[in-house]
Symmetry: C2
Subunit: 353 residues, 2 copies
């Protein structure tokens, strides 16, 4: 839509889409998906367990606690003095029951409400949250974490995760390309190529969430393009996050697009203690986030030793605050547009507006 | 919602949800899914091919033609005098291009519009359509076929499909039950059973579309519960379609629910010619419809030789005309409620309202 249309829409709808956003977390579907993600949930459990001694008598906030599982890990595996389990969706009504059922009610206090309107009896030593979305930032729950950090985290308090990175790799996606694009070439002996421009628009102009990339389809080693220090990050920084990449092809193949994923890191409460990592990439156990695929309009042949360099920008939608547009710009072997147009490109992918 | 709420909603919304319904067929996603379904598409191709001699000089209507593939099969595999390819969604704008691209424009005329408002230059000998939805009737496109039949099919003309059946089988669904219900028993060493009533409501009170049943999970031979003669069927019949079943268990196991699927049959244009069948059941090649699973609230143990008897009713929503409620009523070994409440049951499943 045009900017005018967006302003009109925003004036009658909620640009945070809170009803839709919190509504979806009021049903079990998403919570089951997250809890069934063993890689995700066990990582948070491991963070609590490996810091259990240091958590003794600490005050913890679990922001966007959902069913309260992280808070209950805290109560059962460590001896914090208090855990504030904060949840804005109607799941909070059940979280209290679960806390009681598991005998955690002396330690865990469930608080229903938004982080932005939160009132706590005291500041906290540890702020833990699972705020990550597709391509790390999607849905921008991270903003709530930053707001809670600034209001409720003690000086010297700890954030879990403590840092986050977005990782990118140029890749092949032959079967996805075949399924959505080559399909139209000769289905049942007919020529359906007039639909290919429509297919390109419909299937390749937005990222493909829930892609699972085979490590063999990575054309080079991946590259961290954005690094976020959760202590230094400011809400305003989220408006535009930029990064650069320089990949060196390790094999010849078809460059169909870029695949992105994220990792987050949990520092130890003890000086020198081991950092715990949750990595959602192709060499780790699959998570419910899977990976995110950004398709080029057309594949380009690349050869072992070729370089692909460029930039990525994540621009938050100025109206729809949970959405963003990812813009990728790249060249192969340092070519400029003038030389060979297949060797340079720029493409913007709304997620979702 | 209550009846009052539904009336309110209907007065401000379109109870046929045409914008949503035709809108979804204006994008490629659903058409790609249907075309990629080789079992479905090849069946229609086989029907045309096996009747190609008899189709010579016939007039054909292809209702809800989508990309026009059936019409183009007619033009390329037979010699009909005319094919009217009728499509209400905006896909019709592309269908004309595809018809030209494949050199079928002398035979195939694309007509954009709803079946109900259709004006044809002549009546037709054959009315072909792929109108089937989940559980056969969902979305009730069949009504458009009946309306077109009554207005445009010649006396003695042929309908493809000519008949349809809904098939049911009592089944196990252990992994689905484990994933959605047993999961809450002890995840990560915690007791999440307070969420089970919510899980039952959220996951088992509506049918599961896109279930794929393993033939080994069928507890007995399946049974056709509803048969539709496409010549005799009237629009009013669709308000309530009822059937009976009597299954004899061929193995012992857990009775988790019923699985439904459909088959349709295409009579030959030649007397005594072979009927072609499209069967979407577990013993046929999988289709994009897959099967539909209706879960009981709790599984019941059954034993080889046990009988499960009862009734099924598909009641069309009086307000939301593309929706229906499926009501299943059953007893095991002829028990009555008085004797043992686990041995009798009744459950209604909205699809979707
Ligand atoms: Ca999340
Ligand atoms: Ca259909």
């Amino acid at each position: 839509g045009t900017a005018d249309e967006e302003e009109d829409a925003a004036s009658i709808e909620d640009p945070w889409q809170d009803e839709e956003y919190y509504g979806s977390y009021g049903t079990l579907k998403l919570h089951l998906e997250m809890l069934s993600d063993r890689s995700r949930t066990e990582t948070y459990r491991r963070v609590i367990l490996s810091n259990s001694a240091s958590l003794r008598n600490k005050v913890v906030m679990d922001l966007g606690c959902g069913t309260g599982i992280i808070s209950m890990f805290c109560a059962q595996l460590a001896k914090p003095s208090a855990v504030y389990a904060v949840e804005a969706s109607s799941m909070a009504d059940y979280t209290g029951q679960l806390v009681k059922q598991n005998g955690c009610e002396d330690v865990v206090t469930v608080m229903k409400g938004r982080a932005e309107e939160l009132e706590l009896p005291q500041q906290v030593d540890v702020l833990v949250s699972e705020w990550m979305g597709n391509c790390l930032l999607f849905e921008f729950m991270v903003e709530s974490v930053l707001v809670a950090r600034d209001r409720w985290l003690k000086d010297g308090g700890v954030l879990w995760p403590s840092s986050a990175a977005l990782t990118l790799v140029p890749c092949q996606a032959s079967s996805y390309y075949a399924e959505k694009m080559s399909f139209w070439e000769r289905p049942y002996g007919l020529d359906f190529t007039p639909l290919q421009p429509l297919a390109q628009q419909e299937f390749f102009n937005k990222p493909k969430f829930s892609h699972i990339i085979d490590p063999d389809d990575c054309l080079s080693a991946p590259c961290d393009v954005i690094n976020m220090d959760m202590y230094a990050l400011q809400v305003n920084d989220l408006e535009e996050m930029k990064g650069e990449f320089h990949f060196s092809m390790e094999k010849s193949g078809l460059f169909h697009g870029f695949t992105a994923w994220f990792s987050v890191h949990f520092e130890s409460l003890e000086t020198g203690g081991a950092t715990v990592e949750l990595n959602t990439g192709p060499n780790s156990e699959p998570t419910h986030w899977k990976q995110t695929l950004f398709m080029l309009d057309e594949p380009v042949s690349v050869f072992s030793g070729d370089s692909i360099a460029g930039t990525i920008a994540l621009r938050r939608n100025p109206v729809w605050r949970r959405h963003m547009t990812v813009t990728l710009q790249w060249n192969i072997n340092g070519q400029t547009e003038a030389a060979d147009s297949s060797q340079v490109g720029r493409k913007s992918f709304p997620m979702w507006r």
